[in-house]
Symmetry: D2
Subunit: 364 residues, 4 copies
């Protein structure tokens, strides 16, 4: 196999292959393909990362399945994936603070830096954001180019499975810390990986009682493992009645909505106490009916829409959780190689998993 | 006419008539009737107020018309009305801090004081609230009994028309001060009296630009008078396009929703900038369709439901506005006597008015 | 011994002794005396509590020693003490929501309810506050009269040693929750009982790292037991250098000041990161020198003075901590009877204790 | 005079002189000198600005006088000055969003962008900040090089005197908006230009009552002109007594400290109400005595240190004030040319001025 000596790296003898494996969406149709593509080179202010392991997000399942959202947002051919950790193997010109050999992950939202949102601490809702694996090539590949300013350094001792899922953990942190959780009752609706992480964070933060609402038995079990005091199967009992029964009729102080399911959202508001706080991260697929008067107005509720990860506050808070000892490893339930991509995506789509890792070659 | 010497007041020679005029909902049907009823006497911790002037709220129009809301919430026979000012003419046992002769209005929400909301600063959403003129006899009468702890003292020099409308001004203050307005762009949706007061407050607070959306020409004119920079008639132009055009495409920082109209609410969110803040006071009549993903989640919007007046922070802040010099008098556009009640309610229902006052006898 | 049948209790056969034991400050001099005094009777809106156990506060040591603060604030003869739990044995007229047999403690600050602070959610800094055991007779007695609205109900299964110390736990909660602790580095300065409780709360809330600064070896050991990651003896090492060394030179996110020692306060600010938050509860005995420019201004620090317990938010949050499982029992290290009062106060003054309980009769 | 054709500007025929006038601190001694120095050229990511007008800050007076602060912070020879407006005359490579001809001012704090403060929205307290006119050459010159990301665009119709003082107006905005002012009582201590701007902002924001404490008659008069309701001369009356007398004995809701004078700071706290908010911007020259117990702790006060301008929230809020109509022009009282520098600095030092402008050549 031919190798490429990267510019500026000659003295270090650093070489990367001229081509690399990448999981590609080649055409506007369901599925994905493992291909050899040219290895990218870092430009000014950019770094090249060798991916150690990537992870599958629900967004990746949308892209794999080619559902309406994917049809609207994705322009094949492209490499998808945006959750990963890896090692910096080359740095472009004008890069400061990132060096070859660093163990890193990255904020996958590449922001413009000058719009109103970016300039007022809301870069996570930048008007001109480019998301890796959605708007440009992503992390399901052996190598990835990222702007150096998006890099987040990791403790070299951190387990790979935690390092690889900083992106969804960040979503959970952003949602969970939209309000205070310590001593509060918290209702986490939807126990996909982000919901499960939110369960763990709420428990770690000393919530008085953590409720988890989730229809899939596999994920109910994970919710228990991550620390939920009460796991509710909405197919078997009414979550509103159960939560009111467990909260002296008050409802929960906090609702963290991770499901995007209209009925679950309505139930969440019905089980929220007067003056309660709701953070909404799950995305309903379409406009939905909501009784604003009962759900929000008479109740004096506060509602916060959550998108992405607050830069870089979210990242520091996640660091603080991990340093304090919160162990997110149980979130990761399965490991595959890039070659096993179809098996991995099908499992992820089934709901019978937590987080699924994808290794470029062999499972380590 | 016979008079009543009130207990504890004998030494002062204080006398009130044994009966008084009151605007009554006598039956479960449209309309209202002016009747003679017994004058109430204050119990322990209560005071008796001689009403100088009352004002008509939208809620009173619901009761007068006997619409579905009224049919569900009102139990005739009863005296309605809850906006007023007056003079204390008698105090019951164990009352401290309120004296005969005081010029007062009152918080019309009588709270339990011991529920979770009451004990954590959210008395305005008390689980067990009793509202005067809704759950018990109200202020469309010559005399009114109130708990002393609900009394708010007024500067004796305050004009009657401002004194009488502290209740709706308080709703506007509560809504407007749910976030910061100074230097911000603010969209006030719906210019009934509360919306008009919010326009005035936003302008007084130094908003960069105050938009007012209102379909009725009479109220559009009042909105201009209260200080709106831009008044938008949603029947003649698209509020979203107009507001985006006037805000460099960003949308407004703040949305104060006073209309309760589903289409206006959706437009308000569409014209709200990313990271913006929406306070919702207007009550939609029924569950409504909302695109939570676009309106709230992707936008990272914050939403706050508003009910009643925060006790007593709202009242102090209103006091501060008035002391600073904000003049709410232009909100009041018409004056009637109790005898002219049908004329007054019909005008209020037409939308061709600002605030309407009701005087027990002659217009002063 | 004669007994008293309390008014309104005749039908229940409830009797209390006509006199009771109380620890009294009889004269303006050091020391205290155990005496028989008349058992008080509850008036309107009041309840009578049989004290199960009381606890000694630092304030009580000031009173016992008759130091300058005590000389200025205490008017003998009086019964002191303000931390306790007990059982309601009689209720006065017009009491709602509290019944004979209830297991309770109480907010010891009796507020006026009508001053600006009381009416805006700041009752804990009421202009006209009366504190039990300071401004009126307190809890070092067999019976105590309290206003019913000050009562806080306890779970009957709660251990007595936790029930008895809700007052200082509330101070710790009020201080700790003045900002967010989860994922943060927190410096607790001074490990008397309130500081120790703050250590436990910070750890429970998922702080990344909890530092405790305390000169007394006994309390250093307790700080470790309550969860401090790093315990610093300021007599043996420089707290500032140690904390900067452990925080990558940044300093802590949060400082919870419980010592009131000028040098410790200055060190706390020096070890606070830029943009950090300081909650000050410890009371310096006199004006002190502070470099406001370096400690606060250039650093963009936020500082919050803490007095008392926010009513009733603090109480609900403490309830949420206890319900969640935080165990405060290790804070209590010694138990005495009223008869052993001198021994108890001397031990408390020595610093070689955590919280000390005082039982009216036998240690249970 | 020779001219320089700037790289990349050849096609536009843009020329700037090879040398330019600059007010220089040449030696470690009092005074300053007007010199010819080489015109700087913009590097990558930088722009060159032709200064239209600069303004004198108190910091510049420290440098001119060569006081202890200056001796510690300034390394001659250097050009000082940091308040200005001007026109972009050249842009270096890799600059986006700034073009030749733009009317601009700039954030004078050049931040590192990667420290903890920078990455969590606190760039104004960056660990590695470089301030123009202090740490590197500044704005008292005909031309100035700035990083493009520090540029703030101005409305071309904005009066020069407002455009030139965005830096101190930003300090005032940052201080004033540390809490809410609308309907509140506000005490502005120290009426130098920043204090005067804060007076104007508090009045514009609808404060109930604005107090201004200032010993210099010239500035007292300006405080009245900017909108203070009550101007207090601390040499003639006790500010604490006066303010308590004017606030029903409560004290002010808010204190904005701009003087840095220990006695004034202590008086400000004494005149602050319980639960009040103090923003501290003025820099005491040395550690000072403060009664933390009375000033902060018992009072439950909140205190915020203010340094620089929050990026870029402060700038947007200032823009919103100006767009809304707040007129800061009366702050500027004198105009000089660079040649008149000694006269200008002496006047500024005297306290008998508001803001003083310095024009490179003729007063326009």
């Amino acid at each position: 196999m031919a190798h490429l000596v990267l510019p500026g790296m000659e003295h270090m003898g650093a070489v990367v292959p001229e081509t690399m494996l990448a999981i590609r969406k080649k055409a506007a149709a369901p599925g994905a393909e493992l291909s050899q593509v040219p290895t990218p080179a870092p430009g000014p202010g950019e770094v090249l990362i060798r991916i150690k392991v990537a992870a599958i997000c629900g967004t990746d399942v949308h892209i794999y399945r080619w559902d309406p959202w994917a049809q609207q947002h994705i322009r094949p051919p492209m490499t998808f994936g945006h959750e990963f950790c890896g090692e910096v193997v080359a740095v472009g010109p004008m890069v400061k603070g990132v060096a070859v050999g660093d163990f890193v992950t990255a904020e996958g939202h590449i922001t413009c830096g000058v719009c109103h949102a970016c300039r007022t601490g809301d870069g996570h809702i930048c008007e001109n954001v480019q998301i890796i694996g959605v708007d440009r090539d992503g992390a399901f590949a052996e190598y990835l180019v990222m702007p150096a300013r998006n890099i987040w350094h990791l403790d070299p001792r951190m387990p790979l499975e935690v390092a690889a899922i900083h992106d969804p953990l960040g979503n959970a942190v952003h949602t969970a810390f939209a309000t205070e959780l310590t001593s509060k009752t918290v209702n986490v609706i939807g126990c996909g990986p982000i919901g499960l992480a939110a369960v763990a964070i709420a428990r770690w933060a000393g919530a008085a009682r953590v409720f988890a609402v989730e229809p899939m038995p596999y994920r109910q079990e994970l919710a228990r493992r991550m620390g939920a005091h009460v796991v509710i199967d909405p197919g078997r009992e009414d979550p509103v009645a159960r939560i009111l029964g467990e909260t002296e009729g008050l409802g929960t102080d906090v609702m963290l909505e991770m499901s995007g399911q209209p009925q679950a959202i309505r139930q969440g508001f019905a089980a929220l106490r007067k003056g309660g706080f709701a953070a909404l991260l799950g995305i309903p697929a379409a406009p939905m009916e909501l009784d604003l008067a009962e759900a929000v107005i008479f109740k004096g509720a506060r509602v916060q829409g959550i998108s992405g990860r607050r830069m870089w506050d979210t990242w520091y808070r996640l660091q603080g959780l991990i340093r304090g000892g919160l162990d997110f490893r149980p979130l990761v339930t399965h490991r595959f190689t890039f070659q096993q991509l179809d098996q991995a995506f099908e499992l992820m789509a089934s709901g019978n998993s937590g987080k699924i890792l994808l290794f470029p070659k062999e499972v380590q």
